[in-house]
Symmetry: C2
Subunit: 415 residues, 2 copies
């Protein structure tokens, strides 16, 4: 599988449709409108399965979780969700009891419009923390939004969930089975506060495959673990993160063991593609880094080292400056490792295919290598490999650089 | 005790001398020269006690510790150091076996010039990671530097240890005893890679008080814990951090229990003043934040929450933008806290004396409070108080903001 959504190569047996041309799988309708939370852009969306569906949902682990997260987690049937109502422009986070009541009200209104029990409707928000939801525009907005639900409404829905995203984040995959095609649709929002575990990402997955609830949860959990839980823009876990997947079985295709395996692969590939698109579109990001840590004593050590590098502002600023500053990489990783009296910390570091540090000793580059390094750094995607030489465990972490635009975006105004 | 070095108020019985007028305590000489590691500025310094001294030294805990740290830690008598040789402009970090030999050579040359055993001479470096030390200029530099050692050489020494520091970081304190005055001198370098535990800080403390080695270690350890281990600029622990204190007894004053207590207070106050000066001069820093976390279940929880806030790029960028974005504060703290099914996370947050969040509910500000908040944010020093309402433990963390200058300084070139 390839690295970014733009280069996303469909798996054997799948056909990818590019951003901007993503339909919804069978049995779903969606809508996105401008309710008036933001000045001009779409800011309210509804996604619904017209037939009962199974669902799997993953929330932020932040103790300061927002009201919609609390409401969905505490009083929905999270394995049988059939719809979600989402607003952008306001996170309904740190809004106290009023915020909780507002999230409940959003859900109740959407459920009423959709003629569904409230426990089958999730509610989700993203945007500014600490301001009360403008219910005066949201309440009529929900009714208006429900009236525009359509099979081709996926794009408008995807637009409505975005905040400072610069790029569209949709993907459609088709998995061919002997009894017909099944489809998976993905819509994400990202940008800022992107970190394991999860990101301020809202991601909604729809499939028309028929999958038992337990299996669907397992497939989604594995996909999220290897995608959204592996990315970081700024180490900040949001109050509002949610990844929600529906499977409604409307395709009528029979999903046997082989198809289940293909479906799981496609799901994971799609989630990773979306997660990488979120990194590439991180606030101010100019470079997407794929860091591979190897040679750790155990998976935890590999992951801690990888995340320390991925969240180091010094590493990130150097990447922005197109400086192969491997010293900052090993210094950041070194923060997380024990100081062994026995063995010196003597790692290898490569940028792209250029080895810069071997067993803790800097490699003197010949002119051809130096030239190659220039080319590696000029790309918008950068592979860094760090071998700790301490054991056999590995981890991958994906992150963005730290640019002037990050500071400008986050210092200038509430986002 | 007051907040920054500029407002540093001497303790009762102490007289502070301001930056730029700091002499050395009795029995010490120092020097700082331009050896040629940097283009123009002083880059090599020696500090020596002319009489045997006791010492206490604290190193980075980074597994990627630099060669001078390893050499000093592994083969010096760290309780009886009498001199230190320091260079700036090159960290001698990640320089492999050559770097280790170079650090040993630096120490051997200095020891020879000072006619001291090598185990009584520390070696220290700060600057770029991963380049070999230019021994061709350092070797003659050490001899030249040793020839200029003088009782009034403290300022030149302080200048020689600085890297991207914008401000002078020296302080002198006098403690009056019945048998005469004792003095403490402090010289620090900071800027960038400033984080608990310790900072890329090099800090050298000299006193002419007579203190037993064990007691001196205890006093220094407590001072460092409450100062340099409480600050962060960017969460990055350096490969080269070192805080080294000498006590040589040359004052001839008798230090009894009362004087020991005063001396410990002065030492701690001085270290905190220097640590805050390092934060204020953090790369690109425009604001120094003093964060007080209260209401944690235990000290560890208080500290984790405080450091998560202090290292949050979103919080830091908001401080830079003079935005009282308490939502980012509780979101960062929330990342470190468990999600309790029992009790909601309902903290208080104040900026200065303005309460913005009470029990998790935003406080609506009356115009006078909003005006007051503007004034609080306009200051170069900001107090943020976060009460987690979970217990009785507290922690203080000091940090700087994230500005365009931070990115410019760290993206533009190797530092």
């Amino acid at each position: 599988m390839d690295f970014t959504i733009s280069r996303f190569a469909p798996l054997p047996g799948h056909a990818a449709t590019g951003p901007g041309s993503v339909g919804l799988p069978a049995g779903y309708r969606a809508a996105g409108i401008h309710a008036g939370i933001k000045r001009r852009r779409r800011d309210l969306g509804i996604l619904v399965s017209d037939v009962p569906s199974v669902s799997a949902v993953f929330f932020t682990t932040n103790a300061a979780a927002a009201a919609p997260v609390l409401v969905t987690r505490e009083s929905c049937d999270c394995t049988a969700l059939q719809a979600v109502v989402v607003n952008s422009g306001n996170a309904n986070a740190s809004t106290g009891k009023t915020g909780y009541a507002d999230a409940e009200r959003m859900r109740a209104l959407a459920a009423s419009e959709l003629a569904l029990p409230i426990e089958n409707v999730a509610v989700s928000s993203t945007g500014v923390i600490g301001s009360p939801l403008p219910m005066d525009v949201i309440e009529p907005g929900i009714a208006r939004c429900a009236r525009t639900l359509a099979e081709d409404g996926g794009e408008k829905f995807a637009e409505a969930i975005r905040t400072t995203d610069r790029s569209d984040k949709q993907l459609g995959l088709t998995v061919a089975t002997k009894t017909g095609d099944v489809h998976i649709g993905f819509a994400s929002k990202g940008a800022g506060m992107i970190s394991p575990k999860m990101a301020t990402t809202l991601t909604f997955v729809t499939t028309d495959a028929a999958v038992p609830a337990g299996l669907w949860h397992e497939m989604m959990a594995m996909g999220v673990r290897e995608s959204f839980n592996r990315i970081t823009v700024d180490g900040q876990e949001s109050t509002n993160d949610m990844v929600l997947g529906f499977a409604n079985g409307a395709s009528r295709a029979r999903v046997g063991d082989v198809e289940t395996e293909l479906l799981a692969q496609a799901l994971q590939a799609g989630l990773l593609a979306l997660a990488l698109a979120v990194v590439a579109d991180g606030e101010g990001a100019t470079v997407t880094v794929r860091l591979r840590v190897a040679g750790a004593r155990d998976a935890g050590e590999a992951e801690r080292a990888g995340r320390a590098v991925a969240n180091s502002p010094l590493v990130k600023a150097a990447v922005y400056g197109r400086d192969a500053n491997w010293g900052r990489v090993i210094s950041a990783a070194g923060m997380t490792l024990p100081q062994d009296a026995a063995g010196r910390f003597a790692p290898d570091v490569s940028y792209g295919d250029v080895l810069l540090l071997r067993d803790g000793d800097p490699v003197e580059l010949v002119p051809a290598q130096a030239e190659r390094l220039e080319a590696v750094l000029a790309d918008a995607e950068l592979d860094i490999a760090l071998d700790l030489h301490r054991g056999d465990a590995t981890a991958a972490v994906y992150f963005s650089d730290l640019s002037h635009d990050y500071v400008r975006l986050n210092a200038g105004r509430r986002t």
